[in-house]
């Protein structure tokens, strides 16, 4: 899988409560999650996420198992999330809902610059420099390639 987008920078330890607050979880309407995604982190952020590659700090997505967090990012138009490390449940959830989560160390972020990635070749590129990305496990790669765990299961069936 390959992609490109404009960088949106987030700090370290962004928890799932910050990504989508509990008060918006009383629904199955994904457009509501997209509208309010990252609202408690920065209320101006949601409209800038269409076509964005999020470049986050360490431990991205810590906290709750709420899958609405990666779904909200995906629905808001985020192309991929890149971080030096992810909280385990968020990482798995992101792949399961078809949102590329890429582990990459040392990626600089100023905001707005172009970021490209190739999961197949294992790199992230920005400012003309390529940074190595840690490969996904075979299973996670298959799930992501299928567009998420639901499609992976459908294909298996």
């Amino acid at each position: 899988m390959e992609g490109t987008g404009h960088a949106v920078c987030l700090g370290p330890d962004v928890d799932t409560d910050l990504i989508i607050a509990g008060r918006y979880l009383r629904t199955k309407d994904r457009s509501i999650w997209a509208e309010h995604v990252l609202e408690d982190y920065d209320p101006a952020l949601a409209p800038r996420l269409r076509g964005a590659v999020i470049v986050a700090g360490k431990n991205m997505g810590c906290g709750s198992s709420r899958e609405q967090a990666p779904v909200a990012l995906r629905e808001a138009g985020v192309v991929a999330v890149i971080a030096p490390s992810f909280a385990r449940i968020f990482f798995r959830n992101a792949i399961n809902v078809g949102l590329p989560a890429i582990e990459c160390d040392g990626l600089p972020c100023t905001g707005g610059e172009c970021v490209s990635f190739s999961l197949d070749e294992g790199w992230v590129e920005t400012g003309g420099i390529r940074y190595p990305a840690r490969p996904l496990s075979g299973r996670m790669q298959e799930i992501l390639d299928a567009g998420g765990l639901v499609n992976y299961w459908r294909e298996k069936a």
Binding site: D17, A21, R23, T27, K28, D40, N59, E67
Partner: protein, 403 residues
């Protein structure tokens, strides 16, 4: 040699394995999404309904007709498919799982991050998201990467007013919020052996706050005795000189009453450093500290006195509530000025009942103090039951040493 995680998953750390799941559970918050994904997978009936539980706890009872409608759909599915079903008022999923539903050596997966709580029984218990849960409903198994393990060696015994919660906050503070990411925790040593089951559940519960997949205790005489109370005769697990990726040692005699300070669980300080901070609310409950021994301790400390700030007590299950009622603890709490909530997650996740207002400050026995979680613009500290009691009586943060 092997860690407990390696032993249960039957593969070395780093390996990817597919394993059948002995118990799988979801609550009203995640089960609705899991059901949607399950249906999108083209499935109608789970493969192993007898292994699946649905427990309503996050918005229990429903706070508006929208959530009631979502719960109704999941309730109908659970009953029609013959799943284990606990309706509103039965209690928090992790507490109910700890009431004889999880056994040592099992693989337990819950659609909630604090599913690691059941690691206290020597079960590989971990949290997943809703779509992962749907796939488990569909096929009865899932994949795991066998984690490396951080050994937490507990020496000595607790002194003064310190509780298991203070140990939990201390280790999360030591490791940091991502200090055990992709790992299991193992609590070992004479200090661990001396902690009763309720305290072990508190320590395992907070493993996720250091990023860990699960927080394991070896099943021992205490585990056997506890589960015998639910009619189970289980074998003990003995450590096999496990190979740890990292080890830390905590002398329990050095553990003081501590707080997690807003807005990070790993920002831990002694309670005395924050004494005098005015409080708008104290909350006792949750899957961390809503067990019978917690309610009993809190009631024993506030009995015959009056709280000076609004104080919400939520027993973690119907069993806890019943026992507290029979023991007269509820009367003690109500006479002391506390509010009793129905068993469930209550104010912990800020969705209903006890949500904080802007600028308000609270002390909670829960496991997370992320910004805005319990209410937009609010601040809250995490502490032990005894710290909550001392603080509720003072109307401000107060060390339990004064009681």
């Amino acid at each position: 040699m092997t860690t407990l995680a390696e032993r249960i998953l039957d593969a070395p750390a780093g390996a990817y394995v597919d394993r059948n799941v002995d118990r799988a559970f979801a609550h009203d918050g995640t089960g609705v999404l899991a059901l949607e994904a399950f249906r999108e997978m083209g499935k109608k009936v789970p493969a192993y309904p007898e292994r699946i539980s649905i427990l309503f706890d996050h918005l229990a009872p429903a706070n508006n007709s929208q959530t009631a409608t979502l719960q109704a759909e999941l309730r109908e599915f659970a009953i029609e498919c013959g799943l284990h079903f606990s309706d509103v008022g039965e209690g928090i999923c992790h507490q109910l799982m700890s009431e004889g539903q999880v056994l040592p050596g099992e693989i337990v997966v819950g659609a909630d991050s604090h599913s690691c709580t059941a690691g206290a029984f020597g079960a590989f218990a971990t949290g997943v998201g809703a779509t992962d849960m749907a796939a488990i409903w569909a096929g009865g198994s899932t994949w795991f990467r066998v984690p490396e393990t951080t050994g937490i060696h507990l020496e000595g015994t607790l002194a003064g007013c310190a509780e298991a919660k203070d140990i939990a906050l201390t280790y999360v503070g030591r490791l940091g919020m991502d200090g055990a990411t992709y790992r299991a925790l193992e609590f070992t040593g004479e200090g661990a052996a001396g902690i009763p089951m309720d305290g072990r559940l508190t320590l395992s519960n907070m493993a996720i706050e250091a990023g860990a997949k699960t927080g394991l205790f070896y099943a021992d005489a205490i585990t056997r005795q506890y589960l015998a109370g639910y009619g189970h005769d289980v074998s003990e697990q003995v450590p096999d000189d496990p190979d740890y990726a990292e080890e830390i040692t905590i002398d329990l005699a050095d553990v003081a009453p501590v707080l997690s300070v807003p807005h990070r669980v790993d920002t831990v300080a002694e309670v005395t450093a924050y004494e005098g901070t005015p409080l708008d609310q104290v909350f006792v409950g949750t899957c961390t500290n809503g067990r019978y021994s917690d309610i009993e301790r809190f009631a024993s400390l506030v009995r015959g006195k009056k709280v000076k700030t609004r104080t919400i007590v939520v027993p973690a299950s119907r069993d806890v509530l019943l026992r507290a009622g029979r023991a007269g603890l509820l009367t003690d709490l109500i006479e002391a000025g506390c509010i009793i909530g129905s068993p469930g997650c209550g104010p912990c996740l800020g969705m209903h009942m006890g949500v904080l207002g802007e600028g308000e400050v609270a002390l909670s026995t829960a496991n997370r103090n992320f910004r805005n979680r319990m209410g937009v613009g609010a601040e809250y500290y995490l502490g032990s039951v005894a710290t909550a009691a001392a603080s509720a009586l003072a109307g401000e943060i107060r060390s339990p040493e004064v009681l």
